[in-house]
């Protein structure tokens, strides 16, 4: 039974997709988020009451409330993506590289990459099958045998220390939004939209964080700096909703595509505050916005670093489900993103200080 909506919920249109595309195509690996930071600053400066970049490179935005003694609500989305870092010049345009963030090395061979903010093109090659021994193709190629190749003669364009990502260009295909780094550019875009539609009932504290993929580093200091009344991390989480190899029931799907934003109960980094879980689910029920519960266990979000800051900050995470997390291509659904944005907007707009008056 849904309530007729007196709230006007934000929509995802051409402008929002275009922003997401720019964000997805940017190269911003943990520790070097500047390309995304520039897009974010551009988008938030006209809307923010306060805006700063802190010691680690987080963008911290305050949007004041229009009421007295408002609830101070923090939202966090990470700007960094998983990727690579060149570590040694092997001459002839070949570079040894390391992985930044968790990437299954089976995803690497035979992929095009972009190096640095200038998106210098390169490839991660692989040994030709003709030259392989029997059984060799059944073994993972170790990282130290792989190289990023920018082509002989092009060595001067890149250097050790540069970051690189998979060279995936964003696309919208039917109901799907497909690209690299949608974990967590979807979250970044969502925060920007929430800022645009900021309801006046709370003080909105937005943290566009850095280095989530290498240990929730940015969120830790942003949480300390803001010290909000509560926090919501907006991220992307794996949907492993594909058929089991033997046709048996898939009971470990984590989340499903098309089932709406995923509310977290527990992951490895956080046991969500049940009051916030109830509020989010209640909001979905009240306004007819679909949502799902992420299967408990595993993973982690910025909430992990925020909730244990100072004297404790009630926190929860909400994610857009995506297939093939931490690979060259993430497949997400337009509707899941839209519903995530709408659920968060409605949840924030209906928050009052009474939300936290009951004990955890």
């Amino acid at each position: 039974m849904t309530e007729s909506t007196p709230l006007s919920l934000p929509e995802i249109g051409v402008e929002q997709i275009a922003l997401l595309e720019r964000l997805s195509n940017a190269v911003a690996v943990s520790g070097d988020e500047s390309e995304v930071r520039a897009i974010v600053l551009d988008a938030v400066k006209p809307l923010a009451d306060e805006c700063s970049v802190d010691a680690l490179g987080n963008v911290l935005v305050t949007k004041r409330a229009q009421v007295e003694n408002p609830l101070r609500v923090m939202l966090a989305a990470h700007m960094d993506e998983i990727g690579f870092m060149l570590v040694q010049d092997d001459d002839n345009g070949l570079y040894q590289f390391q992985v930044v963030g968790g990437i299954d090395t089976r995803q690497l061979p035979g992929k095009p990459v972009w190096v640095g903010r200038k998106h210098i093109p390169g490839v991660i090659g692989a040994k030709p099958i003709h030259l392989q021994e029997a059984g060799e193709s059944g073994r993972t190629i170790p990282l130290d045998a792989l190289r990023i190749d920018v082509g002989p003669g092009n060595g001067g364009k890149v250097k050790p220390g540069d970051r690189a990502t998979f060279a995936t260009s964003f696309q919208q295909i039917g109901p799907s939004l497909i690209g690299k780094a949608l974990d967590d550019r979807l979250g970044v875009a969502t925060l920007i939209e929430l800022l645009k539609h900021a309801p006046g009932n709370v003080e909105l504290l937005l943290a566009f964080t850095v280095q989530e993929e290498v240990g929730l580093r940015g969120a830790r200091v942003a949480g300390y700096a803001f010290n909000p009344d509560l926090a919501i991390a907006v991220d992307s989480t794996p949907a492993m909703d594909m058929p089991m190899w033997d046709g048996s029931e898939n009971n470990r799907y984590n989340t499903r595509l098309d089932a709406g934003p995923a509310i977290y109960i527990a992951d490895s980094s956080t046991l969500a505050d049940p009051r916030l879980v109830r509020h989010l689910a209640g909001t979905g029920d009240r306004f007819g916005i679909p949502y799902q519960f992420r299967q408990p266990g595993g993973g982690g979000t910025d909430a992990g670093a925020i909730h244990t800051r100072r004297a404790g900050i009630p926190s929860v995470s909400v994610s857009v489900p995506g297939r093939y997390a931490h690979t060259a291509v993430l497949v997400t659904r337009f509707n899941d993103w839209k519903n995530t944005l709408q659920l968060l907007h409605a949840a924030i707009q209906t928050m009052t200080p009474a939300l936290l008056s009951e004990l955890r």
Partner: protein
Amino acid sequence: MTLELIPFLKQMLSLPGLSGNEAPIREVIADAWRPFVDEISTSPLGSLHGLRRGQAAEPRPRILLAAHMDAIGLMVTGIADGFLRFTEIGGIDPRILPGQAVIVHGQKDLPAIVVQPADRLVKPEHGGSPLPMSDLLIDTGLLPDEVKSLIKVGDLVSFAIQPTELSENILYGHSQDNRASVAVITACLLELQHIRHDWDVWAVATTQEEETLGGGYTSPFAIRPTVAVAIDVTFAKGPGANDWRAFGLGKGPTLGFGPNIHPALHNRFKSVAEKLDIPHQVEIMPRHSGTDAFAMQVVAEGIPSMVIGIPLRYMHTPVEMVSVKDIERAGHLLAQVIAGLAAEDVNSIRWEDTND
């Protein structure tokens, strides 16, 4: 005031001071630093804080130089027939232990040896392979009754190897990780005596880096520096260390680059080193720097951080080897960077304008 760097380093390398129990080394460092700082104090966890005030008007920006003074070693876990069972403090490859000379810090300091029982006395599947630490023993040469009266569970055991110069410049000893870096900060303080500097300089010998980064998390919380620099040893090229993670011994300190380092700081250190012709190497650190900087960077609202590395061979063995020239160069580089820091340079440590 002068201080001879090599004798000071050798003095430090002869002392215990394992993670969590740094008192023996702290007093020696405090004595060395006292003439060069305005205030000296100890943190609740035992880290040493020395403040050398700058000349700029208050409120002055602050730079924190951190080198951990704790060393790895062993701890007694049990006594069996007069032999000591033990565990590690910090990370130790058990293969370097058999035959090592150690000192057991019981009721008094007792020289002893780590021993490997004969193959016929151990689990059959272990015979011929390196024994895990839990199967090794320490023999004090004393009889069981005397052992029981002098030693108890929890007593510490440190390496006994005396520091030795292989040449004028190359020195080996245990605990170069990280006493070599304490020497770097000391060299910097020495040079700062003759330099006018705007910023306050906090020289910090941290505790428990090898176990919890405890000093790295807690000292900056008290001091709240504008910038934090961790000085720690890094891998020098040598047997078993030959890839992109290892650097030339004697080829200069390394300047860290990666998510744990603020690029503006890296660039500043690099340009000063280049201008003054100080040999240096760039150390790419794709993730965790493995130093106090990992803790310092995320204290409170976050602190722009830098890592300076001293190349060292055979890390976490009692025969760690460094080049004294690298220590001197690092100290000189630090002093010169500090000398060049004007009060308003706080504004230059930012993100928007850092280029490749």
